[in-house]
């Protein structure tokens, strides 16, 4: 079996994979990092978004073997010990989740959104940038509010 090595949440990891193994399967099944979810079969829902070398990527649509040597960050790598990341805290404060299934992808997408678009995000920008993230509980209103607040909080910390 081929072997793949990468950095996940700051730690060097490696594991045996099949050529078909998707990044999300490597994360969930090999590394048991089950915070990253799979919500669809068509690369459309964004529940599986993680960061690969800083970019938001749908981990259900990347082969683990393509990412040999990559630097990957998942939802488990955002908090600092017991202290939530400002974006996680903002989702909690603003009731930005209901069942929570889409939340890891929403938060990973939001953190990268702030990297590209800055700390002051208006509603239109946030809604456009959330194109690739679906919430089946449809709580978009509070998700948008949470992201705007989280972005501000990230700015205040920076």
């Amino acid at each position: 079996m081929p072997k793949v090595s990468m950095t996940v949440n700051g730690a060097a990891v490696s594991g045996d994979v099949d050529s078909r193994t998707l990044l999300v399967q490597f994360l969930r099944e090999t590394l048991r990092l089950t915070g990253t979810h799979v919500g669809c079969d068509t690369s459309q829902c964004g529940c599986c978004v993680v960061h690969v070398n800083g970019d938001a990527v749908k981990s259900c649509t990347a082969l683990a073997m393509s990412l040999e040597g990559a630097d990957v960050r998942t939802i488990e790598g955002l908090a600092n010990g017991d202290q939530l990341h400002p974006m996680q805290e903002a989702f909690r404060e603003n009731h930005g989740l209901q069942c929570g299934f889409c939340t890891p992808g929403m938060i990973m997408t939001s953190v990268e959104m702030v990297k590209r678009k800055g700390f002051n995000l208006d509603e239109k920008t946030i809604r456009e940038e959330l194109e690739g993230n679906l919430c089946r509980c449809t709580g978009y209103h509070n998700i948008v509010k949470a992201i705007a607040a989280g972005a501000q909080a990230m700015g205040a910390k920076a």
């Binding site: 081929p2 050529s19 079969d41 459309q44 978004v49 970019d55 990347a62 073997m65 590209r116 690739g132």
Partner: protein, 265 residues
């Protein structure tokens, strides 16, 4: 997904020789089309030749009135390139409207052009701007490149290396999105260069992207939305599906073309 043998290409030459050797092999670029297709078991390549490490296939150059974009350049890089925004804003805007941020972070121009999805955006830009598609073997004009649904002039194992777009005087792209998939139900790219006007339509044709020559002739005489107001787009040859029937698509082609002409800069 069906099983396949994975290869990581270290150079374009190696990718080409691997692709030539494996008849049922497939090149992997951003994977944003190929991997979903494989996951659905709609494709069963024997071998995957990953081009992800071919950094010399990435980059954008604007020189002598031509925007040249290498094949593995990701949509996000085109969308945010200051040079493309300045020289050919319509192309940067087109790239910014593909899919969603995560798709744009992985998907490449070469993959989009090679795939020739009948609803993809880049084929319309190539055709309207009179682009040239460069491969490891030859250079092909866009007019000769897009042959039919998911069909191009590429031979097995032939690799797109870059695409060059002559900078027009004015251009614009208007896309009527499918609200779920973000692909075009109808997309119209209009470009004017000197006395020459080209209009390319994606999303609508049952043979993929095509040029609307009646619009082109009228716009060459008078580049205004009014000039094409009374030209009727035929329904024949247009797709009908659950998203839009041919009559609606024909109507949208006129609307999108007029908006593109009005917005062209």
């Amino acid at each position: 997904m069906y099983a396949f043998t994975y290869h990581k290409a270290g150079s374009v030459a190696e990718a080409a020789s691997l692709a030539a050797k494996h008849d049922d092999g497939k090149l992997l670029a951003g994977g944003m089309t190929l991997l979903p297709t494989m996951k659905q078991r709609l494709a069963q390549p024997s071998d995957i030749i990953d081009m992800g490490k071919l950094d010399d296939l990435r980059g954008i150059e604007v020189k002598d009135g031509v925007v040249a974009i290498k094949a593995m350049t990701r949509h996000v890089a085109v969308a945010t390139s200051a040079e493309v925004m300045k020289a050919l804003p319509a192309l940067a805007e087109l790239a910014a409207g593909i899919g969603d941020p995560a798709v744009r972070n992985r998907g490449t121009i070469g993959g989009s052009v090679a795939n020739n999805d009948p609803a993809a955006d880049y084929p319309a830009a190539c055709l309207a701007l009179g682009a040239t598609i460069h491969t490891n073997k030859r250079a092909v004009k866009a007019d000769d490149f897009f042959i039919g649904l998911f069909e191009t002039a590429l031979e097995q194992g032939e690799i797109i290396t870059s695409i060059s777009f002559p900078v027009p005087d004015k251009a614009n792209y208007q896309k009527f999105r499918n609200p779920a998939s973000r692909y075009a139900i109808v997309g119209v790219f209009v470009a004017k260069k000197g006395g020459d006007v080209r209009v390319a339509v994606t999303g609508a044709g049952d043979g993929g992207v095509f040029r609307q020559k009646d619009f082109e002739a009228a716009l060459a005489k008078d580049f205004s939305a009014k000039a094409i107001e009374n030209i009727k787009q035929a329904e024949k040859g247009l797709n009908s599906d659950i998203h839009a029937d041919a009559e609606y698509r024909a109507h949208l082609i006129g609307v999108m073309a007029r908006r593109a002409v009005a917005a062209a800069k």
